[in-house]
């Protein structure tokens, strides 16, 4: 069984307890304008181009079988022609062209994850599956979680909440120790308009999950200026969480991570977003809405 992995990040400290390895699976059904990992939205491997590294040697053009290399202008790849074969990335001396997304055999991936087992053990850490949306590759995710649990590794998932509930419950849930569940907005129409889907499924999944695993769920709310960060929205989310008896939440301050990554893929993120990151300590005004619920630092 193979999974398409965008990135593996070791020594991750903000994706659950302890020192962790975070696996970023490729593919997501939403398209949030502020996405931190826009390179992981597509379900296919993609080539990213980092113009500042390029020495204009032309080696990429020489090897591309699809004539998809543009040697002039800011873009290097004609994404309409590129098949993602990866030959250019292998020959580019400057790693200006980089393949995002690589298929891993399950065991191959497990071997990489187990390399840091001693770091997990000394810190109470483990493995976190993130993305993209890891449940998009549900079968692979389920097998991976089971494998890790059998190895005694603490597991965490970061999910946007859109997953087929029954299958998730029957194949993944038992092998999960912690669920980081994203909640962006209560108004479904807004949800549909801004991130591409309504939020009914998300809210249902959350309330079901809380029935059995309330202690293992942390609801995470991205605080995005001009989008989610309105008193109305945050207030509604807080009320909803209280209604559902959510135990723990955390606020994810906005960071313009995604902008440069999107640019490398030839995609432009909405320029309505600020260029500056939001400081963790600027979250105070939003925290007040959540009195009664335990806050966890991301």
């Amino acid at each position: 069984m193979r999974g398409l992995i965008g990135n593996i990040s070791r020594y991750a400290l903000h994706d659950g307890p302890g020192i962790r390895t975070t696996v970023f699976l490729k593919g997501c059904p939403l398209h949030c304008p502020w996405c931190h990992n826009p390179e992981l939205i597509s379900h296919e491997p993609e080539v990213a181009f980092y113009a500042e590294r390029c020495i204009s040697c032309g080696d990429c053009q020489a090897v591309c079988p699809e004539d998809a290399i543009l040697m002039h202008g800011e873009k290097r790849i004609d994404h309409t022609r590129c098949t993602g074969c990866g030959l250019c990335t292998k020959s580019c001396p400057a790693i200006a062209l980089v393949m995002i997304g690589r298929e891993y055999e399950l065991e191959e991936l497990v071997e990489v994850l187990l390399r840091d087992r001693h770091f997990f053990e000394v810190s109470g850490g483990g493995v976190t599956l993130s993305g993209g949306e890891p449940t998009q590759q549900l079968e692979f995710t389920a097998s991976l979680l089971e494998r890790l649990h059998n190895e005694g590794i603490h597991t965490t998932i970061e999910s946007n909440g859109i997953f087929p509930r029954e299958t998730f419950a029957s194949t993944c849930l038992d092998h999960l120790d912690l669920i980081l569940f994203d909640l962006k907005c209560i108004d479904s129409a807004w949800h549909q308009e801004v991130v591409g889907r309504g939020n009914e499924r998300i809210l249902e999944n959350l309330s079901c999950l809380l029935k059995t695993r309330a202690r293992d769920v942390i609801v995470r709310i991205p605080v995005i200026p001009g989008h989610t960060a309105t008193p109305e929205n945050i207030g509604q989310i807080a009320d909803h969480l209280r209604k559902l008896n959510v135990c723990r939440y955390s606020l994810l301050p906005y960071h313009p991570f995604g902008c440069s990554k999107a640019a490398a893929l030839g995609k432009i993120q909405k320029n309505s977003l600020p260029e500056q990151a939001m400081e963790q300590d600027k979250l105070g005004q939003w925290q007040e809405f959540f009195h009664g619920i335990e806050r966890v630092l991301p």
């Binding site: 302890g18 001396p93 770091f119």
Partner: protein
Amino acid sequence: MTAVTLDEIGLKEFTLESLPRLKELRTQYFSRQPEICIERARYVTQYLREHDDSAHSPELRQAKKVEYFLRHKSARFHDRNLIAGNTTSKALGAPLFPEFFALTLWPELETVSDRKKNPQKLTASEASELNLEIFPFWMDKNVLEVTRSQFDNPECLQLFEKLVFFIAAKAGCISHAVPTYTSMLQYGLSGLIKKAAEYEEELAGVTDADAEQKADFFRAVQISLQGIIVHAEHLAEEAKELATVADDPKDAAEFTAMAAVCRSVPVGPATTFREAVNAIWICQVGIHAENINMAMSPGRLDQILYPYYKQDIAEGRLDIGRAMELVGCLWLKIADNVTMVPEASEELFGGAGTVPAITLGGVGKDGEDAVNDLTYIMLRATELLGIRDPNVNARYDYEKNSQDYCRRVSEVILNTKSVPAFFNDKANITALCGQGERLEHARDYAVIGCVELASSGRDYPASSSIMMNLAAALEMALFGGKRPITGEEQIGPATPDPSELRSFEEFWKIFKIQLDWLIEQAITLNEYMGAVHQEMMPSPLLSALFIGPMDKGVDLIRGGALYNSSGATHIAFADVVDSLSAIEQTVFIEKKYTFNDVLEQVRGNFSGQKGVKMRLYLKNHTPKYGTEAVIARKNAHNMIQHLFEKYQSHTNYRGGPYHPSYWTMTNHAGLGGISGALPHGRKAGEVFSSGITPVSGAAPELTACLNAVAELGGECVPGCWALNIKYTPESDVAIMAERFAQTIEAYFRAGGQQVQFNIMTYEMLLDAKKHPEKYPELMVRVSGYSAYFKDLNEMMKDELITRTQYGLDDGRVVPLPPEAKRRH
């Protein structure tokens, strides 16, 4: 049973403000400029000229020479330090050892005081004495010249003198040892002398040559120890004199107390903590009458001094503040000397202290937690003083020592930004047991100088005997036994042109031919010099402070110790492994380049468009040591394995094994600066990576890097290594210390033997290079020891700046700022 009774192990209530004496001494220390002290050179020369009897055994001649010097050595008190005794006549002095390299100062007598980099003051009259009376006597009598004449200027010596292949440390010292002070403290020097006299007497009736030699050795022990006793008496007299002339009754009382201490110890057994501390220091001073001040390491002082501390505390004679003051005074005493460095050597050794190592914590001989209150007092003193010497090291057994201890050591590192270094008990004890040391002896290991290990007072390790430049062997393999820096001269065996090779294994074989040839040369020279040392520089005084020589009646230099290893360290390990992997990958696996392509670019220093492209490809697309790339791991492992087997196939002149190790002092910068381009995309003149540390920028992930290094540890690295890791400082020390400690524990569990840190950013170091005046006390870890950043040469500064910096927040490499890249 735990010996920790402190409520707060950080001892935060003690500060330089609450210990004003330490504050004052520390300020004085930083304001002092080193001065060259010619006393030792003067008196040993005088002795040899006027009193030496060449009919005597080498041990006896050495003992008399040492005793003569100690008898004439001045007894001075330079400041309000509570401990009596100085290494030299100067407050911060560089003693001269004409037996070794002192004569390199000859051409610089007039400039050494005023040279730009690290000047060492020398008065005009002393310069003239050296020029006219002392140096001429030694022209043909130092170790190097004696070796030359005795062995007919051998090839290995000529090779060493080129300085770019290997360094034979015995031309400059042996030192590098950890004596044991336990029996000295228990019986006093008079007790040790009595024992030697009894042994001598037992031999009186026996008439064979062996017995005569032994009796001579015991006589030599008595004479040399007597020298220390006489010097202590002189210290007592001077202190008494100062007490009578002191204006302030408080000062007078202090001098009177010191006079009393010097009368009691080290001649007699130590009865208090203060006496024990001072006895150890006076013996260190004595040792340096005989052996040069290079890495003579006091060892596990938190263990040795603990019984005295405990008793004084129990009897109400001592409190923690006073104990810390005495420890701080001892640290500052240990820092009272530097080595004489001629300008020509600044490149290779610039900024180095004398690296006397102190080892704290870990387990005891019984394998149980040995951390005690004194461990924490010494850690706090180290944290408060922030000085280069002593080189403080912390042992850590992750199963036996508490996590509080690990966190506390981590906190000290974060606060000092660089010390102590961390040593893994499990891996290091395994490594020593692999060398046939008994378990309880291995457990009692201490660090010598930079990183090498020795069972305290049992192993006379002559660590640092050989410093081998692995890049030299690689260049010789690439160019048929020649190196670009030595031109057309055929140095090593004429191995085949690599462009004719069909497999990587063939190249690996050629590399080994060159490497082994160099190792043979280095070992041959070490053996020659060992023989010269046996005739010229035995160590009867040091022998008395070891376990073994007194039982065997044999001096350390003839194999008197229980264990008798020789250390051989290696420079450019990571660079050479990466070059081998780059060749294997691009020439033999991918066949992207021919060997000739690579050689052409290496010769041309990757110039021109083609060169730039190839260099980037080699840097970016070949397997790197410090990642988990299979080929890189294989080549690193093979290198370690090969060196281990090669050295272990030799036995040294004292009957012990050669221990390979991996630390580089500043040699990786100096030797890198004069080496040509290499196949992993390193341009000519770029510094090599330090110790066992991966090439800067080659190991992007912290955990992968630590794993890749750790898996090399254990039995094949009996001499240990220096791994340098640079972390970005964070504002919250407590949170950082927690992660820091966890990271170290994981690295140790994976087998890592040692790690040392610099907690600083590229920007800060760049600023310190630009504005040295703003950072007069900035201390950095080099490779196994600490130095003041301002004292380092420009290359070494750049090496520190460009070292990979990891964020402890995400384990990622922090990108190098453009300003730091602009060097080339």
